[in-house]
Amino acid sequence: MGDVVVLAAEFELHAEPAIGIAAIAWLIPLLPLVGFVVLTFAGRGLGRRAGWLATATSSGSFVVAVGVVAQLWATHEQARTLLTAGYTWIEVGALRLTTHLLIDPLSAVMILVVTGVGSLIHLYSIGYMQGDERQGRYFAYLNLFLFSMLLLVLGANFVVLFVGWELVGLCSYLLIGFWFEEMPNAVAAKKAMVVNRIGDASFAVGLLLIFAEFGSLDFAEVLPAASDVLGEGGAATAIALLLLGGAVGKSAQIPLYVWLPDAMAGPTPVSALIHAATMVTAGVYMIARASPIYVLSELALVVVASIGVATALLAALIAIQQDDIKKVLAYSTVSQLGYMFVGVGVGAFGAGIFHLVTHAFFKGLLFLVAGSVMHAMADRTNMWRMGGLWRIMPITFWTGVVAVLTISGIPPLSGFFSKDHILAAAYEEGSTAIWAVGLVTAALTGLYMGRWLFVTFLGPKRWDAPPAGPAGDDPHTAADTEAASAAAEGTRPTEDAHAELRPHESPPVMTVPLVALAVLAAIGGVLGPTKEGPLEHWLESSVAHLPPRGGATALSEPVLIVLSLIAGLAGLGLAYVLYLRPPRRRDPVAANLGNIALAMRRGFWVDQLYDRVFVRAGGAWSRFLVWFDVTVVDGAVDGMGRFSLDTASTLRGIQTGLLRSYLAGLVLGTAALIGVFLVGAL
């Protein structure tokens, strides 16, 4: 792959201690950690103030982050990689790990997104979680989540990144299962944990391989040396694929995406946090961070892009037939993450990160909108039992419109630019197939988001109607929907879903973040109006670059732009025709496409497949292990115990307590010794 430009020199050049505001960058992760500790021990008594405290700590982080980034901005382009001194954490043999924080353009973007969007979600949560008994714990977890993610993006070596990586997984478990009284929530939390573990194992092996190859885990030592140490051999591919395994788990890509749709079980702001600011972006960030390794392996990049595009398409298809407003968004996240993977997979790391940022804005916004709707609808999530909400909740509706247009790729909103950059990069890099599928997916995105918006907010009021399945004639579909909605509504053990509904606009504490995010989603495009936009320029020193290759050039850039615009509009238009004119009470797609729609609705039975193949096989294996443990391992241990007991109870007879018997032993021993001499003498 020819000459590879790595962030090499800069790292070693600027490993000097950070100065100015960057010198207190450790405050960024520390503040949420302090919030977590305080809320853990004192959160119970704080009540609603817990939320304000948590918001204050995350906002504090945001302020510091803004200061740090501002300082970075003012610094010379070549000197934007700083190390904030931590302490030596582990020093064993050749392994030396520090807790230094790495502040470079890439982590700067990430900390801004994480703390910024995170703070808005904190603020929103104050309203959303009002009245919950365990607010203290909730906000403690939220702060811990933020801390973990900040640790992940700021760590200056792979191990600190991995610690954050694992902590993020832990937090997702804690928050998805926050209302653990309900079985489905606990199961969903467990699923997220287990599926993530699979990826994490791969990631950990990747780390070991890195250490084996480089003898270090510091970014500053590994990344600049990547091309020298690894060359273009199999080691680079192996490391890249193993790391990808972790990214696939954390960022919910095929085949490990199944945990994310179930993660809806948590409180909605948590979904927003997981999908927008933290957690799922970790995989994309990690690949971008490790880009010097990825650019060494063509195969790994192809795998990344292929997984990304396949996931994007699959999730978009599934999203079309989901009735739960949060599930649509969940699959949409999976799909959008697929885009990001495409971006980093075709070497457009800047574009991938750009989409990560805009996605954080609009997906965070979408989830907060959904949360606002649920707040108004007594935690109802079935969109077919909503409708006509736009008059009642204008702020929620209009911010939702902005979000939907953004994600559908309508200019001049930010989603248009970021998605277009990725597709254009894919096309120009030569991956025409990926580009084509991405374009189709863009149309599908418009379709499912349009459906989501139209069915939820527009059309006739349906919330008083008896729960009617979208395809009432189809018995199994109806039953499925019923079960799904019942399960979804059970996510929050509060009011009876059938109690009288009085939809209302949410309080300001919730609408302010909505508006803020809507503005960000709308104007986010300024970060990258063109492919050489400010953000990608900014990131240049942090990520590796693929040398330009002669890809497809049949279509010029304006044509590409127009095509992707058409795709988005087509999707929205189709949704308009299908769901708004005329307004529907049930889903026409489900009624007309039959089994195909059912397959989409059921997520192509992937969950069932995994259950058959992995869960049951794992169960059988586990049962064998239990048997082995009980009979062989425990048997051996118990046997040892029994053996000692038996031996002891036999031998205790010797210990008569009679002085003379001991003396007899002494004399006998003496006689025996003399006997030995005797034998020797003869």
Partner: protein, 254 residues
């Protein structure tokens, strides 16, 4: 007899003395362990000690012979008799191993011990030249070891047995000598502590020292206070939980 047909250096007086004293010593020993009356046994032991003192004399160790009589026969055995009188237990008819086979085993073991010792270690020294009446003789069985001969040495140094031993004692073994005296002091203090029966004297404040110290020994000691001498009832509950055992076996002292 074979034994009487000694070499030229074995004086007749020594042979006679040896046999007399040996018979007395062995007889006293056997009598001691077979007599059921403890006082009789103790007296037999005194006889045994005297005989051993005689053997010491025969072995040109007059000093030790005297010590043996003064300390062993005089002091130690008197101590034994005192204790026997103090406790008032003169018979221990039943305090013999009950199991006949065990007893026989013990005797067999003892004889075995003697036999093996005799064969392995003593054997080489029973030949005539081992008398070592004069220095320079070679110990039979080992060509290198030279026989010094104590009588010769005494004669050469023109010292008595006392001076001969004392010279060693106060030169090479000074440290051990001093250390042994320390041991005696420790033994006296220990004996006082272990053998103490009554409450220690009151402290000026009127509080028994035992209560202050609360040592483990005070427990039993304090309890035994009321009962004077005698083996009366084995006092109290012992932790073992089977205090009745000795009485049930019917061999409680007295």
């Amino acid at each position: 007899m074979l034994l009487l047909a000694q070499g030229p250096d074995a004086s007749t007086a020594e042979v006679i003395g040896f046999w007399v004293f040996s018979v007395i010593a062995l007889g006293g020993g056997i009598a001691m362990i077979t007599f059921r009356n403890v006082v009789h046994g103790a007296l037999m032991l005194v006889a045994n000690f005297f005989a051993i003192a005689g053997l010491f004399l025969l072995l040109d160790s007059a000093f030790l012979g005297i010590i043996q009589i003064i300390i062993y026969a005089g002091a130690i055995m008197v101590l034994f008799l005192f204790v026997i009188m103090l406790l008032g237990v003169v018979r221990d008819d039943l305090l013999i191993e009950r199991d006949r086979w065990l007893r026989a085993g013990a005797w067999t073991l003892g004889l075995l011990l003697v036999a093996s010792v005799a064969v392995v270690f003593v054997g080489p020294y029973t030949a005539d030249p081992s008398v070592c009446g004069s220095a320079g003789e070679v110990v039979p069985g080992s060509a290198e070891v030279r026989c010094a001969g104590l009588a010769e040495a005494l004669r050469d140094t023109e010292q008595g047995s006392v001076g001969f031993a004392a010279e060693r004692l106060f030169t090479r073994y000074t440290f051990a000598f001093e250390f042994v005296s320390l041991l005696l002091v420790v033994a006296i203090v220990g004996a006082l502590l272990v053998g103490r029966r009554r409450e220690p004297p009151m402290r000026p404040g009127g509080i028994p020292a035992a209560e202050l110290s609360g040592g483990p020994l005070t427990d039993g000691v304090a309890r035994g206070d009321g009962e004077a001498t005698g083996p009366a009832t084995p006092p109290h509950t012992h932790r073992e939980g089977s205090t009745a055992a000795p009485r049930a076996r019917g061999d409680g002292g007295g």
